[in-house]
């Protein structure tokens, strides 16, 4: 038998010193979302990386310029498809800010309740998917089981699990169902139990912690300069939560804390999201206690809100009003507005320009993911190849939102 250590000449032993180029994505099993990362590797260390997005571009902003203001709602559903309700509410608030409308109190509480449910589902998905990509499949199933309970409630309310299209200018598509409060109260304890179970499983796991700790760290000022917002920014210690700093709806009347991290690494981002799940539960409990069971949900403004269906079928005035609102769209006052809310991933802004007609002149969304993904290559440099998966997972890049 020949010996295994074949004697080679010195020249043959030299490994190539040039950096290696590697394509990760656009469709890679260990990364969710369609994104391509072109890497320049020295051994296993990332020297340079180029993050390329746009694979899910569907011309959202262009499409919005063709329909009425209300027809934008189905499109915003498909931006962040894990928490569509937050997008619905954000867009409705932007148009209402331009019109100078304030929705009735019951609707404000209702929007908060639905929004917090959506935030729960967003954080559950992000943390679960990140754990799954690191090989922990069971916690993912538990988190998704919890998410499924939330989606059951949302389905009961809106008729759709995912793309609700439930927001309307000056209100919601329909008032809360009779069982809404009961369903939420019944679902919250098992959801939190599942989260705690998953958390125990992950945070006491040495491998999981080792793969997250000190990986993908960024300092607070750097994150701010990159335009980061949301849980990723709060993980660096900057307590910028729009619900707290610039309260909208009724967030100034509920009691909640803003969880912040210290190091801004992947573990901090994971923990901040877990903390926010608990805060959302706290907010939700207060909202359910304070939401009135009766009262109007929609504004009393015939210029933007559809008339009652019974009136449409029985009176000519309501028929005409309905026809004009559907065919021409609600006339939104001329001007421009920037409205911002706290989405699942950070500041979700809408910049709207109206020329006074029933069709938006320009709808610009400020998706939080876009700038967060823009900072990805910065935090990857100098790290190992295997660190990409947890780092990218913790940023929670949502293709639909990031690519418009």
């Amino acid at each position: 038998m020949e010996p295994l250590d074949v004697e080679l000449e010195a020249g043959e032993l030299e490994l190539p010193a040039d950096p290696m180029h590697l394509n990760l994505g656009p469709s890679h099993p260990a990364m969710h979302g369609t994104v391509r990362i072109v890497l320049e590797l020295s051994g296993e260390t990332i020297v340079r990386s180029d993050v390329q997005i746009g694979y899910l571009h569907r011309g959202f902003e262009k499409m919005c310029e063709r329909g009425t203001w209300t027809q934008v709602f189905p499109y915003v559903d498909r931006l962040n498809y894990i928490s569509p309700m937050l997008n619905n509410v954000g867009y409705a608030l932007a148009v209402e800010k331009l019109c100078g409308l304030v929705v009735p109190e019951r609707c404000q509480w209702y929007r908060m309740a639905l929004g917090e449910l959506a935030r729960l589902s967003d954080h559950l998905t992000c943390n679960g998917a990140m754990a799954m990509e690191l090989g922990a499949f069971t916690p993912f199933l538990w988190f998704v089981k919890a998410r499924e309970m939330i989606w059951d409630i949302l389905e009961e309310e809106t008729g759709a699990r995912l793309t609700h299209s439930f927001g309307r200018i000056g209100g919601m598509a329909s008032p809360p169902t009779q069982d809404f409060k009961g369903l939420c109260r019944a679902a919250l304890p098992p959801i939190l139990e599942l989260v705690e179970e998953g958390e125990r499983m992950l945070l006491k796991n040495r491998i999981f912690i080792d793969r997250l700790e000190n990986v993908g760290a960024i300092s607070g000022p750097d994150a701010v300069g990159l335009g980061w917002t949301g849980p990723c920014l709060r993980a660096t210690g900057v307590a910028y939560d729009i619900r707290k700093v610039h309260p909208y709806l009724k967030y100034d009347e509920v009691d909640f804390d803003v969880p912040v991290g210290t190091k801004g690494d992947t573990l901090d981002r994971f923990l901040v999201r877990l903390g926010e799940i608990r805060q959302s539960k706290r907010i939700l409990e207060q909202v359910l206690d304070r939401m009135p069971d009766t009262g109007p949900v929609n504004c009393d403004d015939p210029a933007v809100v559809l008339p009652d269906k019974l009136d449409v079928y029985t009176t000519i005035e309501a028929t005409i009003q309905h026809f004009k609102l559907i065919m021409e769209g609600a006339k939104i006052p001329k001007g421009e507005v920037y409205s911002y809310t706290e989405g699942g991933n950070g500041e979700l802004g809408y910049y709207l320009v109206s020329d006074g007609s029933g069709t938006p002149y320009r709808v610009r969304i400020r998706p939080p993911c876009f700038q967060i993904t823009g900072g990805l290559s910065k935090i990857l440099e100098g790290r190992m190849l295997s660190d990409i998966v947890p780092t990218f997972g913790s940023l929670n890049m949502i293709g639909g939102e990031c690519d418009h």
């Binding site: 746009g54 262009k62 800010k97 920037y338 823009g374 418009h404």
Partner: protein, 195 residues
């Protein structure tokens, strides 16, 4: 509080601030495109303003106006907790001269946003380190968010790279070659021995 920002801008830059308004509470300043970078630097560095968070950048097209394209920037200060919207107008009817200074050196987060505005609206940013398309592919023709770009316009097919362009053998396999794949619906090629 935010009126202070507009007052300070007017005091510092005078005629370069063309217009201001605070419609629905959003403080807005229209600045001369030539002083875009100077105004940005002032907003970032003045300790009383301290705009450290680059929120958004987008282009709004008004094809009947000259200058045509409006570049809109939103900024926020995490320490002072105020916001401002900064606008500048560039480009003539055919988007000639639609150029503005890049502010990437002031806020690193503007890097992708400027690429996006270039991609979608066709504004070129002077001094941007890597100005290429971000959402569209390199072969895309035109800029989709210009109002003159028809929504139903289609794009030409992008030809396959040649081996010279790729710099390597590509070894493309023909789909459904005559010797492989499912034969139904295709006339098999005559066998050489049949002739």
């Amino acid at each position: 509080m935010s009126q202070l920002v507009l007052d300070k801008l007017k005091e510092r830059f005078g005629t370069a601030i063309l217009e201001t308004h605070s419609q629905v509470g959003d403080d807005t300043a229209l600045v001369d495109a030539a002083s875009w970078k100077a105004v940005s630097l002032f907003l970032r560095q003045d300790p009383a303003l301290d705009f450290d968070l680059p929120v958004d950048l987008c282009g709004v097209d008004y094809p009947t106006r000259v200058p045509r394209m409006e570049v809109v920037m939103h900024l926020y200060s995490t320490s002072r907790r105020h916001r401002i919207r900064l606008k500048a107008r560039v480009g003539d009817e055919d988007m000639e001269g639609a150029e503005i200074d890049s502010v990437t050196s002031i806020w690193p987060g503007m890097d992708w946003l400027e690429r996006e505005v270039y991609d979608m609206s066709g504004v070129r940013f002077r001094g941007h380190p890597d100005l290429r398309r971000i959402l569209m592919y390199p072969e895309f023709e035109g800029h989709p968010l210009q109002r003159t770009y028809a929504a139903e316009r289609t794009q030409p097919l992008v030809p396959y790279r040649t081996e010279e362009e790729a710099g390597m053998p590509l070894r493309k396999i023909e789909p459904f070659g005559p010797e492989e794949g499912m034969p139904f619906g295709r006339v098999p090629p005559p066998h050489p021995e049949d002739n």
